[in-house]
């Protein structure tokens, strides 16, 4: 017996609809978030992550209603990220039924926010999302920089140093997205995943680039990820979550089946 590796379907939610873009453009509609979450839960998802990408702050409450509805009938951990800037945002999401919140841009602007949030709500519910992009030239030692605003803004901050710092500040988990791979279906950035997983003592969720079930296997076996997150392979019916879990189990990974 051992702790199982997790598969986490991710729902990008814009104004109350599930959408999925390729490298943040070309958005395709993938349905009603409550319906989609219900389906993934039935298929055996280990957790579900909602990423609120609603641009207008006036429509922010939409995600609260989605979470409330899902939490009333889906009894697995729910994470919500996107647009979280204040402890009040966290409190409202937890009260709506979220178990964890993902903090990204706000952590970069004010790292103490992560400390404050983890002290107030407990590290177990604070996920720090790191969007990382390779910045090393060919032949140089590998180096990644963190980006904010959905991958549009560089920060000059080294991803490895940032991950360690966020854990020191109380992050209970790291959601690590490769901006180079996101939406490309060419697989996780395995060097990035392994590097971050090996230098931090909290669970690391690999994200960005899943196109096949072998990519999920590689994320765990070669990237040392504790969990793998994917969106489009599940949204458009290529694979069910159950198929993905069985495939990973067949490749020697401990899964909850």
């Amino acid at each position: 017996m051992a702790l199982a590796k997790r598969i986490i379907p991710c729902l990008d939610v814009d104004n109350g609809r599930v959408v999925k873009g390729v490298q943040f453009v070309d958005i395709r509609d993938a349905g009603d978030p409550v319906e989609v979450a219900r389906r993934y839960n039935a298929e055996g998802a280990d957790e579900i992550t909602f990423l609120d990408i609603t641009a207008s702050s006036g429509n922010r409450d939409t995600i609260l209603h989605v979470v409330e509805q899902v939490a009333g009938e889906v009894f697995i951990p729910l994470t919500v990220g996107g647009g979280i800037r204040k402890t009040e945002d966290i409190r409202r999401l937890l009260n709506a039924g979220a178990d964890k919140v993902g903090i990204n841009t706000a952590a970069v602007h004010n790292p103490d926010f992560v400390r404050e949030a983890s002290e107030r709500f407990g590290s177990q519910c604070i996920v720090v999302s790191i969007d990382a992009k390779r910045v090393s030239a060919a032949g140089e030692p590998l180096r990644w920089e963190i980006f904010t605003h959905g991958g549009r803004k560089g920060t000059g901050i080294d991803a490895i140093e940032w991950a360690k710092r966020m854990v020191d500040y109380g992050a209970g988990e790291i959601l690590l997205t490769s901006m180079d791979r996101d939406g490309t279906k060419s697989g996780f950035d395995l060097e990035l995943t392994r590097t971050i997983s090996d230098v931090t003592n909290v669970p690391v969720i690999a994200s960005g680039g899943v196109g096949t079930l072998d990519h999920l296997v590689d994320g765990v076996k070669k990237g040392n990820a504790d969990a793998v997150l994917a969106a489009s392979i599940f949204h458009f019916g290529e694979y069910t979550v159950g198929e993905a879990k069985r495939y990973m189990a067949d490749h020697g990974i401990v899964m909850r089946l």
Partner: protein, 215 residues
Amino acid sequence: MSSIAVIDYGMGNLHSISKALQHVAGDAQIIVTADRQQILEADRVVFPGVGAIRDTMTELARLQLNEVVIEAARTRPFLGICLGMQALLDSSEENGGIDCLGLIPGQVRYFGDNLKDPQTNSTLKIPHMGWNQVTPSRPHPLWHGIERDHWFYFVHSYFVDPANPDHCAAEADYPSPFAAAIAQDKMVAVQFHPEKSHDSGMTLLGNFTRWNGEV
């Protein structure tokens, strides 16, 4: 109509546990409360908890709930969850050492910073977060339908080490076996989160809502 009180002492959200109880409890009334009388009038009591043990014990003392929790645990079907399990022991190593309720003899201990998976020699992360298999150590009405190797969702860095091994009701491995559940008379407490453990969790909560406290 039977009633289930969920003790609300201000630690984290109780939305998940009350929704899950509603889902399995039929007509039972679910009352989320810090009121002494409401708690002690309920047929069953759930004692949840997330966060850190010092805040838990501080809030229980501030709300004068220590004696209420102890009385409820001795007199009717009672379910502690996560920190609501750890608070039942004598003391915890967390936050530099904190005295707890002392209902069950034993300590709450830290997993350690250098845990290794004995098979792969890879480092095991802290917190112990995710789905792990739970094996009951003895029969209990709460295990009905989930007798062997069912998966439950855990999030914790400290584990319960009861002084009397007879109090251990189920085990999980990380990597060594630890008490995933303890039980004594009408009281049961679990380290995992049944309210987040899909079908296995709903089975356990359903068993609790029907349990008369006899073992």
